[in-house]
């Protein structure tokens, strides 16, 4: 058995890398991928806790997180496509107007 703290540490590292991606990159698609990475890091912590306490609830929360992430990606990518249509760029620095 691998100690739980190892999984939590790995989850923290992955979450931080996702946060760094959101802050440092300018490409809207890569920012979005970094958000997915952060969601995955949180899921890993949930499943790890579920294993430690032998409770199913952690796994069920992860199941819902995956479903919500799918919905989020569908709407988010549609937004990115709509922004690209009006601005011809997905650089987040260019998205500084209130009116397209």
């Amino acid at each position: 058995m691998v100690p739980e703290i190892y999984y939590i540490t790995l989850s923290a590292i992955l979450f931080t890398m996702g946060a760094l991606g959101v802050l440092a990159r300018r490409n809207a698609l890569i920012i979005f991928m970094s958000v997915e990475l952060m969601l995955n890091a949180a899921n890993l912590a949930f499943v790890s806790f579920a294993n430690t306490f032998q409770q199913l609830d952690g796994q069920i929360i992860v199941f819902f997180v995956i479903a919500v992430a799918a919905a989020e990606v569908a709407v988010g990518l549609a937004l990115i496509v709509a922004i690209f249509r009006s601005k011809h760029s997905i650089d987040v620095d260019q998205m500084s107007n209130l009116k397209g």
Partner: protein
């Protein structure tokens, strides 16, 4: 060192390396492919943690559906690379500083404040029924029935929202 620990270390290395590759590659297609590898390695972690159903959902939904959607949009927009213009020169140093602060905070919580669940003794492992799909299904359709149904409505709304957002108005031309 047990086999589990060796496997964990190799997989942890793979997942951190692919996350770094996702962050550092210039081309968005490479980023997406690195992220697929990262999701696959996390799915193996789920198998190690006794969650085979979640591992399969991870592969099919994340590595399959979501990343295919990402790649499709990247190639549809032709937005693999951005023009290299620096609008905010202080953005990257500030981002690295803030991420370092986050690392310091989590390290403090993990190391100084000890393990999060050190005081709680997990129940004795009599029969490990965690991985059995039957139990997951029973919990999902009894205790968690309402969230399950709400999720289905949420997916429907997301589908309609995506169609409405990308639909062209009548008379609008590109």
């Amino acid at each position: 060192m047990t086999v589990d620990l060796i496997l964990f270390l190799i997989l942890a290395l793979v997942s951190v390396a692919t996350a770094a590759g996702m962050l550092l590659s210039r081309n968005a297609v490479y980023s997406a492919l690195f992220l697929v590898l990262n999701f696959a390695s996390i799915a193996v972690f789920y198998l190690l943690l006794g969650a085979p159903f979640i591992a399969m959902a991870q592969i099919t939904v994340y590595a399959g559906a979501i990343m295919v959607l990402f790649l499709f949009v990247i190639m549809l927009l032709g937005a693999e690379q951005l023009a290299r213009i620096k609008v905010l020169p202080w953005q990257r140093p500030l981002a690295i500083g803030l991420a370092a602060a986050l690392v310091a905070e989590t390290a403090y919580l993990l190391i100084v404040r000890a393990a999060p669940s050190a005081g709680i003794v997990p129940p004795a492992e009599t029969v490990n029924t965690l991985g059995e799909l039957q139990n997951l299904g029973m919990a999902l359709f009894n205790q968690y029935l309402l969230p399950f149904e709400v999720t289905s409505v949420l997916l429907l709304v997301a589908m309609i929202g995506a169609i409405v957002l990308t639909k062209r108005e009548k008379g609008e031309r590109e």
